[in-house]
């Protein structure tokens, strides 16, 4: 890697680090409650309190986001399958 590319990367890293918002929730706490958040989201409700904090974590943690989006996609599929059956 050239040194100018490294410089650019360092600056990009600073930018990304500074612009990201913060969530003090850990990934484990997020994992514990993301099923509740996903159920709320499937029915289009806005999370409050503890679940709002989980949502903030999901927004700034790309790993938890991937897991949450996967769960949400499956729940939506299940809920539309149930609507079709009914």
């Amino acid at each position: 890697m050239s040194s100018s590319k490294r410089t650019t990367r360092a600056l990009l890293l600073v930018q990304k680090m500074l612009e990201a918002h913060e969530s003090e929730i850990s990934c484990s706490e997020c994992a514990e409650k993301m099923d509740c958040l996903a159920e709320l989201k499937v029915v289009g409700k806005t999370p409050e309190g503890a679940l709002e904090a989980i949502e903030r974590h999901v927004e700034c943690c790309h790993c938890c986001a991937a897991e949450f989006e996967a769960l949400l996609a499956i729940l939506k599929m299940e809920s539309s399958a149930e609507t079709h059956e009914a």
């Binding site: 040194s3 360092a10 930018q15 850990s26 509740c36 159920e39 299940e78």
Partner: protein, 217 residues
């Protein structure tokens, strides 16, 4: 598939009769369907795999999830539907496995080996139009400060980890393994580093906007 309440799921899965077999059968079908949907609809990186292969993966992940669910029945508090909770377990297993196999050749040391950033080629970052001499000086100054701040907040290895996670989107757990730590601790490290970096740079009168403007102009 019969609709069970959360209590029925727990009772059936804890029983030692036909109810248990039937509950396991239904749970397995549910998880397989969900994971197969995820693998086939939500993962463009797996688009080259045949449906049978995805189905096979879905079966494996679901089987592992069932074992974990059964081991952890006591930790289910009933805050969500039992099937949602079990799907969450299965999703985590599937994604973790996929991450491990996708990044099996990733090496943090390769990133660290690139060394510290240097300012020698600073003027070439934005070579058109060429910077005025005072801009070059200002950039060099800011870059030194940024570098100092980084050194204060992170070790070179931690900074490489940060680059891997933030710039390249490498999953936390992959980087955590290579750092000999865990995902929670690594998330905390990033969180603390962000806070310290922000504080340190703002103490020196350098806002994120100022820094980026300087190098983008």
């Amino acid at each position: 598939m019969p609709d069970r309440t959360n209590d029925q799921w727990l009772t059936d899965l804890r029983s030692s009769s036909e109810e248990r077999d039937s509950a396991l059968h239904d749970l397995r079908a549910r998880l397989q369907r969900g994971i197969f949907f995820y693998l086939s609809h939500e993962r463009s990186d797996l688009a080259g795999l045949a449906p049978e292969e995805l189905q096979h993966m879905a079966e494996d992940f679901s089987q592992e999830a069932i074992l974990r669910v059964l081991d952890n029945l006591d930790s289910f508090r009933g805050d969500s539907q039992f099937t949602t909770w079990a799907t969450k377990v299965a999703v985590r297993i599937a994604i973790s496995e996929l991450r491990r196999s996708r990044y099996k050749d990733f090496s943090l040391d390769a990133l660290t080996a690139e060394g510290d950033l240097r300012e020698s080629n600073l003027t070439s970052i934005n070579s058109t139009p060429p910077d005025r001499p005072e801009t070059v000086t200002e950039k060099s100054e800011v870059l030194n400060r940024v570098q100092e701040a980084f050194r204060e907040v992170l070790t070179p290895r931690q900074r490489a980890a940060m680059e891997a996670i933030i710039l390249e989107g490498i999953p936390l757990e992959i980087v955590a393994t290579q750092l000999g730590t865990n995902r929670n601790a690594l998330y905390k490290l990033i969180f603390d580093a962000r806070r310290k970096l922000r504080l340190r740079l703002s103490e020196q009168g350098m806002s994120p906007e100022y820094i980026m403007d300087l190098f983008e102009s």
